[in-house]
Symmetry: C2
Subunit: 371 residues, 2 copies
Amino acid sequence: MENQQLNLDYHRIHNFNAGPATLPLSVLEQVQAELLDYHGTGMSLMEMSHRSTEFDALFQQIENDLSKLLNLPADYQVLFLQGGASLQFAMLPMNLRPAGASADYLVNGAWGQAAVKEAKKLGATRVAATSESTNFDRLPAFSAKDLDPKAAYLHYTSNETIHGIEWQAEPQPPAGLPLVCDMSSNFLSRPFDVTKFGLIYAGAQKNAGPAGTTIVIVRQDLLERVPPNLPAMLDYRLQADKGSMYNTPPTFSIYIVGLVLRWLLDMGGLPEIERRNLAKASLIYSAIDQSGGFYRPHAQADSRSRMNITFRMDNEELESLFAKQAKANGLVGLKGHRSVGGLRASLYNALSLESAQTLAEFMQEFQRTHG
Amino acid sequence: MENQQLNLDYHRIHNFNAGPATLPLSVLEQVQAELLDYHGTGMSLMEMSHRSTEFDALFQQIENDLSKLLNLPADYQVLFLQGGASLQFAMLPMNLRPAGASADYLVNGAWGQAAVKEAKKLGATRVAATSESTNFDRLPAFSAKDLDPKAAYLHYTSNETIHGIEWQAEPQPPAGLPLVCDMSSNFLSRPFDVTKFGLIYAGAQKNAGPAGTTIVIVRQDLLERVPPNLPAMLDYRLQADKGSMYNTPPTFSIYIVGLVLRWLLDMGGLPEIERRNLAKASLIYSAIDQSGGFYRPHAQADSRSRMNITFRMDNEELESLFAKQAKANGLVGLKGHRSVGGLRASLYNALSLESAQTLAEFMQEFQRTHG
């Protein structure tokens, strides 16, 4: 038995990164405490076989915790895959769009566009509605007649990180048309009804954990569509049959996702995190709305994201100064995405109310001195 | 500034797991020390944008360190991907086997078989030589006439973890036939000449780091073969153009790979780790060879793996007792792969000489009491 004394000075900043993003401090502390010796096994979780009794128990616990958080019905299966949402953009049509069939996409930002681009490489893909003409400042308008009831599925992106647009409720497809959602950037941030979906996917690195694993939740009857002879790693049915263990899964990332799920359950689940997320977003949108146009939101009021708040100022020099002074005040990650510019505050689950308050106060102070 | 005092009792066992596998203790200690606050940034490496200045500097350092370790020529490119070797089994023929062309495979174990199975789903695939008829107890015999000089590439598996078979030198393809190697389980364990290869791939979770990233090293001229319109995440050329950052890479796994590369450079690089690995393997093979048949090696002498030593005993009861008593003595991970049974000691880079000595002594003691 070794005894280890770590005596470390550290500081933590206010982390508004868009992803990979801030994680709960209590989760990081637990990871740190058990890093050399996981639960008395004499090894790190990273050094453990994915087919060991210990990892198997942990994996089952994680699946149970996720089921509990989401009220997951028995006919849905959870997969832990790799490659991020970008690989799902291709796997989805490979698996669930039969030969000759088309798929419908609702597009409200850059990630939806990327999903369409990948789907088009592999077969018939239709943009049923898009808000591109207004630079993705709102959700796309559409009615039932815009949708193809014979489509293989209807795909949408529940939150767009780059443009800061979020669906306030799910789009309603006609009966029998499976709804598919890229939920990468608001998964686990609010309650939702899984039974409305045929398939959901989410890269972990926003609200669920570190980069390196992608969660897919699929209604089991859809797995019957999977064509034979797909590459094994790209085959939803095979991955489901093997319980996400066809090969070595990203065990350490999955373990951290598990700790984040526990953190959510312990606080009261998705209703409680939604309450906290609303409070944080409200602070920042209030600072914008009360600025008299000094801060200008990108998103129309009915399409605002709780996760990624995008705004502009009068000119790029002022935006740069804002980001620079914010950083000097311990507020980092506020520059907008390189493709659109401006400013962006990402307020994911693990960002504290205190961090949001600090940003709101900084915005008011910055306006007083530069307005 | 916070001050943290961690006072932890921990113990470390002798970890013979086949992968995920033991990591250098000094690497784990560094990960632990900087887990809450990476280099004074006020956040964990896990919470950092993959497009930040800090991560960019780290990533370049990792690429430089790998180049240095391997004496990598300028016309080779390194990619950090996801999905393990199993996804490479499909990506390789997708990218480097032109339509209508065939590829040759040398098969010396279960992983080579899996590579063939995936390649066959996607096009013409030929097993040029295999040692299946002797249950993969040796390398396959072949001569120049067994190879197709018009094949897109010649693929082999440099080390088979399940059967414990390792190539002592690379197979020699005819001039102009690119050699491709699944080096997952002995990558970085010994020096090798990169210029002999067209492409090398390796899941990290044996010698290079934790599960979650896959290293691909490709000669740049081969990227000209990549067909248009592959799914982005499966396209070697696109991943090369984007410097492995088409989307969010598994940043934390890559960071730990970087620490392992530093550990290797600091000790003297691949010649030094080979010396250590030979010393460890020699201890265990000696215990087997000097047991008078009590321990029976699976591999023929000229095909023995330094990484995974596979052996049998007279009956399964004795093998179970061996694994059980070994575990009670702090030696874990010695059961053979579920598909072949028997016993297996994996002696990857981070396993210490002391652990190998402890196992050799345990084997002798077990034979004294049960022989």
